[in-house]
Symmetry: C2
Subunit: 209 residues, 2 copies
């Protein structure tokens, strides 16, 4: 049997969890809306079981909330919750700065620069979701430089919980452009090995002020 490799890859099965998550992040399912199992079932063409498992996982991730015998609805991450999550992100992303500063090579800097430009170029013609992904990729690449493989996952999880963000985060065009500039500035400061200013910038960047 030479189909061992094929079989594992062949199936185009982005699992339902990811599909639902993407639809939440794209704004299709706004915060507060109830996710009915039959609807999801037909929309994604998956069995009832997989949908239930996906919803349970999203509930564990606290992207949706589960109310027994009522169903699952998209969680609203706002007010204090959003602030708390932002604060944790700040602690983590500034916390790795020393290691990143110490370990980043010239190649790493170029890669970051590319990702920063990618984000910038999507401002004009990219969708909200593409912009969101590009931003995510930049930040992921940044923390990856610390060499800590787990950190990436933790931060990704945190970002997912501010699910309404993609729509509401970059309200104005001006704010998006500023984000793009800040990305470049982050690379600049990293190149200059200026950990102190870099931390301050990251904090401002995440707080969006």
């Amino acid at each position: 049997m030479d189909n061992l490799l094929e079989e594992t890859i062949a199936h185009d099965e982005p699992d339902a969890t990811q599909l639902i998550l993407t639809d939440i992040q794209s704004g299709l399912f706004p915060p507060g809306v109830w996710l009915k199992q039959v609807d999801l079932e037909t929309r994604y063409g998956r069995g009832r079981n997989e949908i239930r498992r996906a919803l349970d996982r999203l509930a564990q991730k606290r992207v949706v909330e589960h109310v027994p015998n009522r169903g699952y609805h998209v969680y609203k991450a706002d007010g204090k919750l959003a602030d708390d999550i932002a604060e944790i992100r700040i602690i983590l992303e500034t916390g790795v700065v020393p290691k990143v500063v110490a370990m980043a090579t010239d190649d790493d800097l170029s890669s970051l620069r590319v990702l920063a430009e990618r984000f910038e170029s999507l401002i004009l013609y990219g969708t909200v979701l593409e912009l969101y992904e590009a931003n995510l990729n930049f930040h992921r690449a940044f923390v990856q430089l610390s060499g800590n493989d787990e950190l990436d996952g933790i931060i990704a999880e945190l970002r997912q919980r501010t699910s309404s963000a993609p729509v509401s985060q970059w309200k104005t065009r001006a704010r998006i452009e500023q984000s793009a500039r800040e990305h470049h500035e982050m690379v600049d400061l990293l190149q200059a090995r200026d950990g102190k200013r870099l931390k301050a910038l990251i904090e401002r960047h995440i707080r969006q002020r």
Copy 2:
């Protein structure tokens, strides 16, 4: 209907996820062992479905690993993985120090002191699991002082992933006693509002050196 409140509380149903997790942390299920669904089913007296859901959740938390058509086995968190997780904990728990130092009241300090003593008193006659819980409670109370409600959950999740730790973490009696002393020292430094030394101590404490 006056049984609304009763109904939600009455049932003594610590869900299977927690039960399995506790058994993993107590060392009953050592790292690497395969968790067979029927066994868990009979052991906890729960339906097949609940067991499956529990295993899936633990797999999401990366406490166990899922191998398709083979089952679930306890994850071994050692080497780089354990180091990465410890590092994240250090970033988080030292990261909140400024806020904790700023916000802690005298009452908070007393509460912490009680928890530190609780841990200390369990050294002699407590089980490993009780010691683990007491230690957890101390650290939770500490980060709770930051006022960030989400941080607690994140850290708890991280600790759970170093599941083999409770058994292997405190190898020697001397190490346990040092941990107890360090807890007290943390309260001392917090009382003195010495953030810098407190951060250093926490780092040493988590690294266990």
